[in-house]
Structures are given as C-alpha cells and as structure tokens.
Amino acid sequence: MSARRAPGAQDAAGPVRRRGGLERAEARAGLAFLSPTLLVVLAVIVLPVLWTVVMAFQDIRLVTLATSGLVGEATLDNVREVLTSDGFWGALGTTLTYSVLGTASAVGLGLAGALALRRGFRGRGLVRGALLLPYVAPVVAATFVWGVMLNPQLGIVNHWGTTLLGWDEPIAFLSQRTSDVSVLGATVPVPTALLTVVAFEMWRSFPFALLFLTARLEAVPGVLEEAALVDGATPTQRFRHVLLPQLLPTIGVLALLRFIWTFTSFDEIYLLTGGGAGTEVLSVRVFDYLVSRGDVGAASAQALVLALVLVVLVAVYLRTGHHEEEEQ
C-alpha cells in the first residue's frame, strides 16, 4: 500500500515508509508469537481430522496397522458398513433424542435458576458457586456416584423408592431399556436408561446455562422493566414481553453450544451405561468400532458421519435463526 506512492510525495514518504516497516515488524512478531500454538493445533487437531477423512475410505484394521501404508486404495466399504449396520439408525435416533432432551432440560433448568437467583440475598454468591459444582466436578467421579445412587441393591434412590414411595421392586435405572408406566389406565413403555442419562446430562450441564444466563440477565437494563411496571404489567407479563425477548438470542447461542457438545459427548454415556440398554449414541459406536472391533476404517467413517450430521443440523439451525431475525 505504501509502496505505491507517487514519486512527488517524497517528503511524506519518509514517515510513511517507516510506518510500513513497523507494520511489517508487527506482522512478523505476531506470526512469531503465534507460530508455536499454530504448529501444535495443526499437528494435533487439524491434520488428524483431515486424516480421519482419508482413513474413512480405506481398509485399515488395528491388527494390520503396523504393516499397512499411510494411504492405501480408496474404498466405500466403511461408509457402507456403517450406514447399513444394525443399530446405526437407532443410534442416530437415540443421539438426537438424547441431545434434544439434554439440551432443553439443561437450558430450562439453568433459566429457572438464573431467574430465581436474580434478586440478591445473603449468601447468593455461595449458592451460585455451589450450583456450578456438577459442571466442574470430574465426570468419572460424578458418573460413579450416580451409578451407586441408582444401584438396585445399594443405591439410596431405590431404597427410598421402595420404602417411601411404594415401588413394587427396585428399578435398574442404568441397565433397563424400558419400563411400563401406567398413565390414566394405559400402560406406556418409558425408556428408563435413556431418560436417566438425560437426567444426568441435565444435572451436569445446567450450571453452564445458569452461568451464561446470569451474565445476560445482569446486563438487561432496569428501565425496561420499570417502564413495563408503570404500565401495569404483572410479573409473568414482564417476563414474557420484556425479559424473554432480551434473553432469546442468548438462549439461542446457549442451546446451540449445548447441542453441539451433547450430540458428540462420549464420557457420560460410556461411563454410565457403556452404551447399553437403549443408550447407544454415535460417539460410543465410534469408540466401539475402534477399540472393541479394531476396525479403524469403520471407526473413522462413523466419526465422519457423526460430524456431517452435526454440521447439517447446525447449518439448518443457523438458517432458521437467521430467518427469524429478518422477520423481526
């Protein structure tokens, strides 16, 4: 930019060129400061992801790993195997159910908590801190404690259920696919284990929503509600017509983030049920293909399918969100 100076601008060229030199030095320093980070991210995240795409179209197994080359003949077998295998579509449905219910319940509970904690009281800071604990606690410890709590023999939930709530027999929350619950005389099968992992997901992630929404609530200008109050709006009306419109964009971003993470989460379900009893999600299938079957190609293909479904869902979500904004 500064190089294309007219020859007549000699006097001005001096300082300008010096600034150009500074800019270049700044650019060099910026890249130098960033290059170690970029190198690590490139080597451990970007390249491996690209490599997954390559492996998804190759016949690689753990046992032949040492002898096979880096890039072999391309094949569609893995993708075909993944898409036509038993349980793929079921797992996709389970993943969707799990992520939608987990996201909605976590965001809903977080919103309720943020609203309830809005007005100050003594010890509110401590309560807010305590409510964040499930989110920071190690997932292995949390799942273990839940597993014991819900255990049919030793667990406190089943003990209280059978002694206080009059359950006929203990419920195997984490290993029972469905249980029949009678609603208004009709017997409805309820996916026990799936709802239990959703409840765990809600317990573990609502603090994130609480944190997010608390910050947003504190930024809502007080005058808006005061104006509504003067106009005679009741508390629920003020929430519905003043607060909620202010919160909606935040709730949208929050739901998107939670959905992405829940859709791909592995630890929680693997540790709680191992993917059994109707809780097999796609991420657990990736792990099983890799570790139990040693089929690297199929594991890569499954991971690729997981990522593609996620990308499509997020794209659709962003699209619809955009339209809503335009309409308003």
Binding site: E26, A27, R28, A29, G30, F33, L34, T37, V40, V41, V44, I45, P48, V49, W51, M55, L65, A116, R118, R119, G120, V127, A130, L131, L133, V136, A137, P138, V139, V140, A141, F144, V145, V148, Q153, I156, H159, W160, W203, P207, L217, E218, V220, G222, E225, E226, L229, V230, G232, T234, P235, T236, F263, S265, F266, V286, L290, V291, V296, A303
Partner: protein, 309 residues
Amino acid sequence: MTATRAVAASPVEAPRGSRGRWSRDRVETRVLGVLRWVVVLGLLLFTLFPFAYMVLLSFRDLSSLAADPGRLLPTGDELTLSTYRDVLAPESAGGQGFITFIRNSGVVALLTVAVSLALALPGAYAVSRLRFRGRRQVSVLFLAVYLFPSILLAVPLFIGFTRLGLRGELAGLVLVYVAQTVAVSIYMLRNYFLTVPASVEEAAAMDGAGRLGVLRHVSLPLAVPAIAANGLFVFMIAWNEFLFALLFLVEDRPRWTVSLGLSQLAGSFEVPTTVLMAGSVVLTLPVVLLFFGSERLLRGGLTAGAEKG
C-alpha cells in the same frame, strides 16, 4: 454491587392501582416469591446431594452400607478411614495405588498448564495487540478448536500416537491436552489483554523497552490474576479428562490417571464400593478446592482497582 443492581432491576412494589386484593399482579408476585425459594432450594438439593452422598459413603465399610443402604449419616462406631487407606496405598501394600494415580494426574495437569500458558501468553498478546494478516482467521480457527468434539480426534490420535510410539507415554497425553486447551486459553487471555489500556504498553515502549520487554515487564505482571485463573481452568480440564487417558494409557496400570483408575476399578467387582467412593473424593476434592479458590481470585482481580484508578 450485583445485589443492588438486581434489586433495582426487578422492583417488587406493585403500583397502587384500584385493583382488588386478589389482583393478578398480587397473586403472581406472591406465588413467584414463594416459587423462587422452592427453585433455589430444589436446585441446591439436586446439585449437592450426589456430592454429600459421595463424602458420607466414603467413610463407611461396604458391609455397613449393604446392611442399611437407606441411612446417610454414618454412626460413630462405623466411621472409618480405612477406605482412604485402601484406595491410596500402593498395590504392593494391598491398596489400589491411587497415590500413584494422583502423581500421574498431577504431573500431566501441571505440565499441561505450563506448556499451555507458555504457548498461549505470546499468542494472546499477538491476537489482541498486534496487527497482522490472518488475525481474524486465526481467531476463527481457535473458536473452531474450542468447539471441536474430542471424539472426532479419538481415532486419528489413537492411530497416530500408536505409530509414533507415543501412546502409553504421559508426554503424549500432555501434548493432546495442550492442543485442546491452548485455543481457549488464548481466547480467555486475549479478552484480558484487551481490557489493559494499550497506552500503558506504549509508555513503556517510549521508554525504550522492546516488544518482549514490554510483554515481560508490563503486560504480564498486569495479567497475573487472569493468568492464574486461566492456569487453574486448564488444570481442571487436564485433571478431569477421561477419553484420551483411556485410549492412551489403559494397558499400563502404573501410568493411570486418577480418572482412568477410578473408571477401570469401578468396572471390577473386587474393589468395595465405599473404597471407590473414597477414590471419588480424592479425585473430586482438588478440583472443588481449586474452583472455590479461583472464584475468589477472579473476584479480587485487578479489575476493581483499574476501574477506580
């Protein structure tokens, strides 16, 4: 500060209208006033009960739990510390060897913090202060890395590290954790650097300090609270991580982290449940302590002084 603002933001007093005693407004205010406390107490119970259960069970024998699973509080004579002794003691002494797992987790987490900060500090400075081509793209890349699900990295990293012979090494795990945390570190620290006025740094530069000198003597000391908070955050992520510890270290018991050790022993029927509860406490306690420590640290950070000064 927040309390006064919240009070101002949600006025309670209804306008004195001509409506009767049971106006919708009064009923709603009453009901919501009660509901608020129901929600707060319900959430506290829901959130904290599993932690209380964990701690209370960790001080009991399995036999006492099996005899009376419904009782939460241990009686005086069954209160025991043998669960902690069992879980911590090395395998050679008949324990579960958690003391080794703690060392492994500690080494991995501390190394991750050190390397992640060493990379993120100059990186965050560059992203917040220096203008160069591709700065925006770099920020987008880091956001993508932050959102990126670990399970998608499981296959290539498992295979790649096996081939490189790094699988089974704690150093390999550190490398993965650094790659996963450095992006969010840069993001957090960048936000902090943006709040430090550039004029402070320019003044130092005028006095003849070079770019590294400015970073070292001016920007870094100002950022100490943010660096500490970020370090704690990274430590918690590395300490808690499960998937890659499982993929990389599962065959080699002496290298297990606490998370991995607990998950593996929880699957076996030989270790009593209450001993593993003690293991859960050992795994959870450092994180909880750090969390409450860092909350205070964040609140007492430099920002208050900077605003007033």
